[in-house]
């Protein structure tokens, strides 16, 4: 990936928001696309974070939502008015990934020697524990209400005036949009570079043959811990942006297992181990979930007239979609839509019979 292609990503993504915004206004729809696009970026970060653990290192981690939640909650605690810390958005952006990474190490360290599927269950367990803790430590997290208001991205007023042309609400949305985009691009660049370094090779070697890697002097525990901590830190980053975008840490159910599976879905549909795939997977699924399905809901509403029944809403059927997506991808195209070269070959080999 070159500087030029980076600029290209920027060039392509930067105007999307204003365009959508204008189109939405012209159509007279109150879709809040701005927030939804940021959500796609946030999930993009989450999916590449999971890609570090599942795609590169082959660790089936099903508790990604917990680290996401830790990032969001840490941001809440560090920034809201009622607590004395007041780190502001930028301070939280530094600290939230650190907190999440520490959590990643704590949960990773005792369980690293477990077989793959045990790790899956332990990480699910960890996610459940975290959800419980977030709900129950009501004095800290404000339970289901969530901590709020999480302050917006701080930017100097001259910058806001310049970006938003004087409209404060517009400026806020644009600042959020570009901040999230910038963080996403930075994460992708760093990961892309890491793919071809010592650490990236170690991840893949571990996934291919842990024993052979160990016999070459690579410490599987250490590498797994790196993958865990790195993925957790990125998830924390995503959590920080998520809470800032919503201006609240929201209900802890936003960080539950369903969420983790949705991220896994994005990754698998996009293609395990491929950054490009991860991003496109996130765009496709989260885009569908966040942008297309509200639109469809509205269309149904209009067509049917009274659509009060819950099954007339698209959101009641979304798990069908995700479930079938996983099943069909595994059956027909396990390497995903945009596979990485290495993984594609791997998933199509049939293990030989002895």
């Amino acid at each position: 990936m070159t500087t030029e292609s980076l600029l290209l990503i920027f060039a392509v993504l930067s105007p999307i928001f204003p365009v959508f915004d204008l189109a939405g206004e012209a159509a007279g729809l109150q879709l809040h696309l701005d927030q939804r696009l940021v959500t796609i970026f946030v999930y993009g970060i989450l999916v590449v974070a999971l890609n570090v653990q599942v795609g590169y290192a082959g660790l089936l981690q099903l508790g990604i939502a917990a680290f996401f939640g830790i990032g969001a909650m840490a941001t809440g605690v560090m920034t809201v008015d009622k607590y004395p810390f007041h780190f502001g958005f930028w301070g939280a952006l530094v600290c939230a990934p650190l907190v999440a990474a520490v959590a990643g190490v704590v949960i990773g360290a005792p369980t690293l020697r477990l077989r793959g599927d045990y790790l899956a269950i332990v990480t699910i367990g960890f996610g459940e524990v975290l959800r419980t803790v977030l709900i129950n430590l009501e004095n800290i997290t404000d339970g289901p209400r969530g901590l709020n208001p999480v302050p917006e991205v701080w930017t100097p007023s001259w910058l806001r005036d310049w970006i938003g042309a004087g409209d404060a609400g517009e400026a806020n949305l644009l600042v959020m949009y570009y901040t999230a985009l910038l963080v996403l691009v930075a994460a992708v660049v760093v990961l892309k570079v890491i793919e071809n370094t010592r650490i990236g090779r170690a991840f893949v070697a571990l996934r291919e043959d842990e024993l052979a890697a160990a016999c070459m002097g690579l410490d599987p525990g250490r590498i797994k811990l790196m993958a865990f901590a790195g993925g957790a830190a990125l998830s924390g980053l995503a959590g920080c942006l998520y809470a800032t975008n919503l201006t609240t840490t929201a209900d802890p159910t936003n960080y539950d297992f369903n969420n983790a599976v949705m991220v896994l879905c994005c990754l698998i549909i996009g293609g395990l181990g491929s950054l490009r795939g991860a991003l496109l997977g996130a765009a496709l699924l989260i885009g569908f979930d966040n942008v297309l399905s509200p639109l469809l809901d509205r269309a149904i509403q209009v067509a049917v007239g009274d659509a009060s029944h819950p099954l007339a809403r698209f959101s009641s059927w979304r798990w069908f979609l995700f479930g079938f997506a996983l099943i069909f991808m595994m059956r027909l195209r396990p390497e995903g839509l945009f596979p990485a070269r290495r993984v594609a070959a791997e998933l199509h080999d049939e293990p030989e019979e002895a």
Binding site: H86, W158, V190, I194, R201, E208, A214, G217, G221
Partner: protein
Amino acid sequence: MSTSGTPLRTSSDSPLLRVRKLTLRFGGLTAVSEVDLDVQPGEIAAVIGPNGAGKTSLFNAITGIYEPTSGEVELDGNDVRLPMTGKVVAGWLATGLASSLLFLFIAAGIDATWKAVVKAHPPWEFTISGAFSDLFAHFATGNALLMLLFSLVGFAIGALGARAVWLRSRRTPQGVALQGVARTFQNIRLFHHMGVLENVLVAMDRHLRRGTVGSGSAAKSALDGRFPHGAWLDLGLPAVCVVAMAGLGWTTGDGVDDETLPSILLLVMLGAALAWLVRLTRRGTLTGSSRVVEAVARQEAMELLKFVGLDKRAGDLANSLAYGEQRRLEVARALATRPKLLLLDEPAAGMNPSETVDLMALVRSIRDRGVTVLLIEHHMRVVMGISDHITVLVHGKRIAHGTPEEIRRDPKVIEAYLGADDGGH
């Protein structure tokens, strides 16, 4: 039928590998039974024996894959297991303390503690020292016995858990590999979907980490500039970015009246971040020095590939190689760890006669590089042709040890290995 030309060493030399009374039992089966084995530095040693005699199990026990039921493995006079040092014990205690702290807070009620410490005052009256005195005051109101009990249990779980994990990972393949033992596998275990060169580079990981790649003078001079032009930027730019970001958070957290300083910090942060990202994408490695190290490592890896005759295939995927080539790649990969001792598990298996001859030459030249070789082999011609010493295992027990000539004449070996000539019938 000559043995190799190097003089045999006397047994008074201290052996490179020393195995004593090694026993390995699985369920009711004894795979290896009280085996002794010495490998002298600089020799080519072989372990032979009929299929199922426990040779591969012996290798697995030496390389830390299996935990021996009993017995010792020493390399260069050191036990291959991790030593229990003060640092290790301190680690257990630290884990215990951390976990006991967690349990203490659970006993005191995390929620209640937070309420008493953080929420008791309006946010602007909060101070660190005040927080600590509030914390102790809150602890004082709690049930002392319960808190003590929880702390102790927490400590026990943490410390014992850390100990249990450590004990289980005391003898590990990577630990043995780091002491200088590399190996190949009977059924080739390459990283099949990585490139040929990448396979070798993975094995150089340790040297890449420590920056100890390369040995030639060219590599040295490249590495002398560990901080080549602008290397400070590699660490400096992200550091500046993070510090500026933290400063930005600190100055703006409570809201600001004067935007000058934050504005500058924001611009510095964005500038540093963008400059760093552009540097990264231009170069493709995290730091400039790692780029130099990487380049030297690639050079060294290419030399190794040339040594085994695979330099032309460096860019191909490992699983596109032919069988014999895969075996040689495995050897190159093992050599890339710069071992003192190289274990070859049936290197000639599945090779045709001419490949076998090449292999013998390869093993000899590995020895000539200063790497001691211990191999398991079925091809008698290979074993007899290149080994300085041969150990014969039958049924998990060592039945003979000596030079190829001695082994060839040993009636016990002839009977057990080649089949009894006139036994029984």
